[in-house]
Subunit: 261 residues, 2 copies
DNA sequence: TCACTTACGAACAAATTTAATCATTAATTT
DNA sequence: AAATTAATGATTAAATTTGTTCGTAAGTGA
C-alpha cells in the first residue's frame, strides 16, 4: 500500500476559492491565496490570469480586486439576498395565480427572479421574459416553453433592454404579467429608478390580460424617480406580511387587491 | 494474500457518497473519493464521468466541483470537448478577421462558441447572436455591445430559434457574419442537419457584408440533410490543418478562399 | 533621480492526472 | 454450468498542471 499524499484542491476548486473570497472582500493578495490553497505563487498567478481573462476579476500588483460588474454570471448578488425570505414569500403567493397552459410575462428584477423556483412544477406553461436569471433557471424544464425578448444585454441587470426589446414585446400577448417596480402609490401610480426598465415593464403590462405587481411592503405608498404607469393597469399587488393593513381597504376602493398572505 | 477482500461499495453507493460529499463541500478530489470508497482511481474517474454526463457535478483536473445551476447551464458539455483543439484553432484564425468597431453576427454551435475567447480583447465590438453560451461568455466585457436575438429558447442547443428570431435578424445589419454548417460542398453548397438552425444561419449570412464559415475539415465536401444556401454566399471558409490541400485551388476557382493556417 | 525591494512571467523540468487498452473478476442470463 | 455482460483494475503513453530558476519590470523610499 503506497500512501499517497492527498491533495485537497484542484485547479477549478482554487479558482472557486478565489472568487468566493472576492465576494466577501474587495481585494485579495497572492500570498493570502497561497496560504489558503497550499499552492505556489506562480500557480496562483496563473489562476488569476485565467480568471481575469474571463472577466471575473481584475489583477493588481500583488493580487487582484473584485470586478464589480462580474460577480456571478446570472444571479444578482448582494441585492438578491437582501430580504430573501420576503421575496420568496411573495413569489410563492404569486405562483398560486399561475395555471397550467398560461402564457405569462415575467419582468426582470431580484424579486421576480425567485418566481422561477415555484413555477417549474406546472404542467405546461409559456414564459416570456427579458431576464437572464429566469432563462437560466427555466431552460432545463421541458414543460415550459421559454421565450426570450431580444435586444441589448445589460450586464448590471442581467437582462435585455432597448427599443428593439420593447418593440418585440408588442408581438406577444400573455394571460398574465408578473412585474416589478421600485414604488407604488395611489397618487403617482407605478414608479421606477430606471427609465429603460420602466419601459419594458409597461410594455409587458400593456400586453397582458391580468397584471400582478410583485413588490415588498416597503415599496407600498412610496414613490421613485420615473412615473411610468397609473395604478389602474394593475389587477393585483402581491406583497409580504409586513404590510401595513390600513392600505388594503384603501387599495380595494380603487379596484386594486393587495395580497399579503 | 490470503485474506479475502471485502467489498464495501457498489457503483451506486459510491456515487451517492460523491454527491453527498459535494453537498457539504465546494469541491472534491479523486484521491479523497478513492480513500472513502476503497476503489481505484480509474473507477472513480468513470463514476465522475457518468455523474457529469447527468449534469450532477462538473469534472475538473484532479476531481470535481459542485454543479450550481447557473455556472454551467449555458455551456455545452460533451459535444463541446470533442475536437476542442481544432475548434479553438479555427476560431483563433477567425478572430484575425475581426477588427475594432466591427458589428458581427455569431451563429450558435459548439465550434463558434470558442470564438468568444478570442474576441473579448478587441477594443470595441458589437456582437449579435442567438447563442446563450456566447452571451454568457461575453456579458462581463464592457467593451462589447451584446445583442441577443429574441425568440424561443431551445435547451438542447442552448440557443434561440423560431420565426420571431429569424424576423429579428432582419432588423440588424452587420459587417461580418461568422456562421457554422454541418457540411459544405461546391455541388450542394451549405447543408445542415437541422432546419431551424439552417434558417437562422442563412438569415445571418444574408444580413452581413462578409460571411465566414467556420467548420472543421471533416465537413469540407460533405453534404448533410438540409441544403440551405449556395456556397456563393460565402467569402471565406476557415477550417483546420487536417484539410486536404487539393480543395484550396478548387474553391479558389469558385471565389471562395479556404483558410487553414 | 537612484538604489532597493518585491512582484512578475518565460522557459524548462518535474510531478500529477488522464484516457486508452487490455486482462481480470463479478454478476446475470441462458 | 456455460455463456454473456458489466464492472473493475493494472499498465502505459499522453496531456495537463505545477514548481524552480532567473532575468525583467514595477513599485517604494530616500
Amino acid at each position: 500500500m503506497n500512501s499517497k499524499k492527498i491533495k485537497t484542491t484542484t485547479p477549478e476548486a482554487r479558482k472557486k476559492i478565489i472568487l468566493n473570497f472576492l465576494k466577501d472582500n474587495e481585494s485579495v493578495t497572492v500570498q493570502e491565496i497561497v496560504n489558503d490553497c497550499n499552492a505556489s505563487e506562480i500557480t496562483i498567478r496563473r489562476d488569476l490570469a485565467e480568471l481575469e481573462e474571463k472577466g471575473l476579476l481584475i489583477r493588481t500588483h500583488g493580487g487582484a480586486i473584485r470586478n464589480t460588474a462580474a460577480e456571478n454570471l446570472f444571479t444578482f448578488n448582494s441585492k438578491m439576498n437582501q430580504n430573501k425570505e420576503n421575496k420568496e414569500y411573495i413569489c410563492k403567493i404569486a405562483s398560486r395565480f399561475i395555471e397550467d397552459n398560461d402564457i405569462i410575462f415575467i419582468d426582470c428584477g431580484s424579486t421576480l427572479s425567485f418566481l422561477s423556483k415555484f413555477i417549474s412544477k406546472k404542467e405546461s406553461l409559456t414564459v416570456i421574459t427579458n431576464s437572464l436569471p429566469i432563462i437560466s433557471e427555466l431552460i432545463n424544464f421541458s414543460n415550459i416553453k421559454l421565450i426570450i425578448i431580444g435586444g441589448e444585454v445589460v450586464n448590471e441587470r442581467k437582462a435585455v433592454y432597448g427599443h428593439s426589446a420593447e418593440r418585440t414585446i408588442g408581438q406577444y400577448h400573455a394571460n398574465k404579467a408578473f412585474i416589478g417596480a421600485d414604488g407604488i402609490s395611489l397618487a403617482k401610480g407605478l414608479t421606477s429608478y430606471d427609465e429603460k426598465e420602466a419601459s419594458i415593464t409597461l410594455k409587458m403590462a400593456e400586453n397582458a390580460d391580468e397584471v400582478f405587481l410583485l413588490c415588498d411592503s416597503t415599496k407600498i405608498e412610496k414613490n421613485s424617480f420615473v412615473t411610468f404607469a397609473p395604478y389602474s393597469i394593475l389587477n393585483c399587488v402581491i406583497t409580504d406580511n409586513d404590510l401595513d393593513l390600513k392600505y388594503i381597504s384603501k387599495y380595494q376602493k380603487n379596484n386594486v387587491s393587495l395580497i399579503h398572505e
